[in-house]
């Protein structure tokens, strides 16, 4: 069990670091998708079947497409151009934001109780229980996420659908 975890962790870290180091944006995006698939494998290892398949469906299936389309639509000129920072101010801000995110993540990991126990091979919470929880106590969170996504979708349509008179056929 623990060997499987180490293999999965190495795969995720390897894919993520390769994505960071690759100069080719498409390769980076695809390696990132590999890292997401690795996270799904980790959820499967931990016995959270539903979350693992949702991760696969949402990240590997859908978000990956958004990332790839965005890369293709924004790619300008050569992909192998060296990346330099614009100004000292921007570099400093980048480090502050990245450090802040890292701090929050590390704080969350340190704050959560980590008991040295292995997960059970069969999921202890069934999909039915998950559904009842989502429709009961966690319904407001689900609704808020739904509204947020709908607003984002409408915003994207409003930004994208600018009908100029010369566009008409």
């Amino acid at each position: 069990m623990i060997i499987a975890l180490i293999i999965i962790a190495l795969l995720i870290l390897g894919a993520a670091s390769a994505a960071m180091l690759s100069r080719n944006l498409i390769h980076s995006a695809l390696l990132l998708v590999g890292a997401w698939a690795g996270i799904a494998a980790f959820y499967l290892w931990a016995g959270a079947e539903f979350v693992a398949f949702a991760q696969g469906l949402v990240y590997v299936g859908a978000v990956s497409m958004v990332v790839l389309f965005a890369v293709l639509l924004t790619r300008q000129g050569a992909t192998r151009a060296p990346v330099e920072y614009d100004s000292i101010k921007r570099a400093v801000f980048a480090f502050i934001v990245a450090g802040g995110v890292a701090g929050i993540l590390i704080g969350a990991i340190m704050g959560s109780p980590l008991e040295g126990r292995l997960p059970s091979p069969t999921p202890s919470v069934s999909v039915l229980q998950l559904g009842l929880l989502l429709m009961g106590p966690y319904a407001p969170a689900l609704l808020i996420v739904g509204v947020l996504l709908t607003v984002a979708l409408l915003g994207a349509i409003v930004i994208a659908a600018v009908d100029k008179p010369e566009d008409a056929p």
């Binding site: 539903f50 398949f53 696969g56 469906l57 990956s64």
Partner: protein
């Protein structure tokens, strides 16, 4: 000798030949081998059935020359053609463009076949035959299927060819458009059955009225609508005519597959047929009663045979559709999905909820339940159809003078 449990007995016999420590491994390898063999052969005979049936639709004979080696007299109506095709595909030269992204160009056909095979793991082929029993089987099926889009992107981008990339984008637009109605058409089934497990959904469709009328989901108003939406979305998801624009042999020289040759090209087609078969199997499981017999007295035929008969029926239906309908234009394709299928699927979701909430209605209320459920489907279908075709139908044809 019980035909129903024969495959299981056979498996246990083979597994029993090995030492206890290895038995779990043999168990899984055997399952994999059987799935690969059965559906590999199913794929081979689907191609020959498709070629033969299309030929008959087009008033031709179809392939009828391939026989057996050393038995020249025996022609067998040409059904050994797929094996000759396979040997031809393997021995052909594999051309990789000089500028191609070699790794992605190689990975794309491998990944697409691997992902399209994953779906078979959760299909209940018989009463006791299911490779992997999962609580969230439907979610797994769609998660595995959605990864094929990545492989198509890799094929288009890895070829380093503008036209390949453009047609990969077209293919992705189509797949993403039709994933929505596909999944929405399945949700009512989940609502009514209250489970995501394919095994439980197949079991829920058991039973007969008067021993003759099966309780399959397709024979309910919401189930019928969902099944039709599912069929259309399946055609589009597996790039079949009339939605075969990503490949459109006569117009696009096979789209994102332009730069592929030999066995890699064959692998893409293999993945397409595997995807079609897996989705058809899911359709059989969700709407056509899975492995259940259509009548009570027909139960003596083992359940896995019923599943395969229904699966073959679905495939023949898809071949028939290919022989009948013309290819759509890309704007017609996306319009059909977003303006017609998605709203109908959403309404059908409410229909499924209505059906699930009214299970206690009895007596004359049953008639009301069926009438209301049918009205929820039929009225929007007619209204939406009228609105969308206003000003566009009936179509007029103009010919060059």
């Amino acid at each position: 000798m019980n035909l129903e449990t024969l495959p299981l007995q056979f498996r246990d016999f083979i597994v029993g030949l090995f030492p206890t420590a290895l038995q779990w491994l043999v168990h899984h390898v055997l399952t994999l081998t059987v799935i690969l063999t059965v559906f590999g052969l199913f794929f081979a005979f689907t191609t020959i059935a498709e070629r033969k049936l299309l030929a008959r639709v087009q008033n031709r004979l179809g392939p009828n020359r391939a026989g057996l080696p050393w038995f020249r007299k025996l022609k067998l109506w040409g059904i050994t053609q797929p094996f000759a095709d396979a040997i031809k595909a393997i021995t052909k030269e594999d051309i990789v463009p000089a500028a191609a992204d070699k790794a992605l160009h190689f990975l794309a056909p491998v990944l697409i076949v691997a992902f399209s095979l994953l779906g078979f793991a959760v299909l209940p082929f018989g009463r006791n035959l299911i490779p992997v029993e999962l609580d969230a089987a439907l979610l797994y099926f769609f998660a595995a299927g959605s990864a094929t889009e990545l492989a198509i992107f890799m094929a288009g981008w890895g070829s380093r060819n503008k036209y390949s990339l453009l047609s990969a984008m077209r293919a992705l637009a189509q797949l993403i458009s039709y994933e929505l109605p596909l999944i929405l058409s399945v949700v009512p089934v989940v609502m009514v059955c209250g489970t995501l497990s394919t095994k439980a959904i197949a079991v829920a469709q058991g039973g007969w009225t008067f021993g003759l009328l099966p309780h399959w989901h397709v024979f309910t108003p919401w189930g019928f609508a969902a099944f039709i939406i599912f069929l259309i979305a399946t055609l589009a998801e597996s790039n079949r005519s009339p939605f075969d624009l990503p490949e459109a042999e006569s117009e696009l020289i096979a789209g994102h597959l332009t730069e592929y040759s030999g066995f890699k090209y064959a692998l893409f087609f293999m993945a397409e047929y595997f995807g079609l078969t897996a989705l058809s199997g899911l359709g059989v499981t969700l709407f056509l009663g899975g492995w259940q017999a259509p009548c009570e007295f027909l139960q003596f035929i083992p359940s896995y045979l019923w599943f395969m008969i229904k699966l073959a029926g679905m495939i023949v239906f898809f071949i028939w559709v290919r022989g009948t309908l013309l290819r759509l234009r890309i704007d017609q394709l996306t319009r059909l999905s977003w303006k017609f299928l998605v709203p109908l699927a959403l309404l059908n979701l409410g229909n499924g909820a209505f059906w699930a909430l009214t299970t206690e209605w009895s007596g004359p209320l049953v008639l009301a339940r069926w009438a209301i459920s049918a009205a929820i489907v039929v009225v929007p279908f007619v209204l939406l159809g009228r609105c969308l075709t206003a000003g566009q139908a009936p179509r007029t044809y103009r010919y060059a003078a």
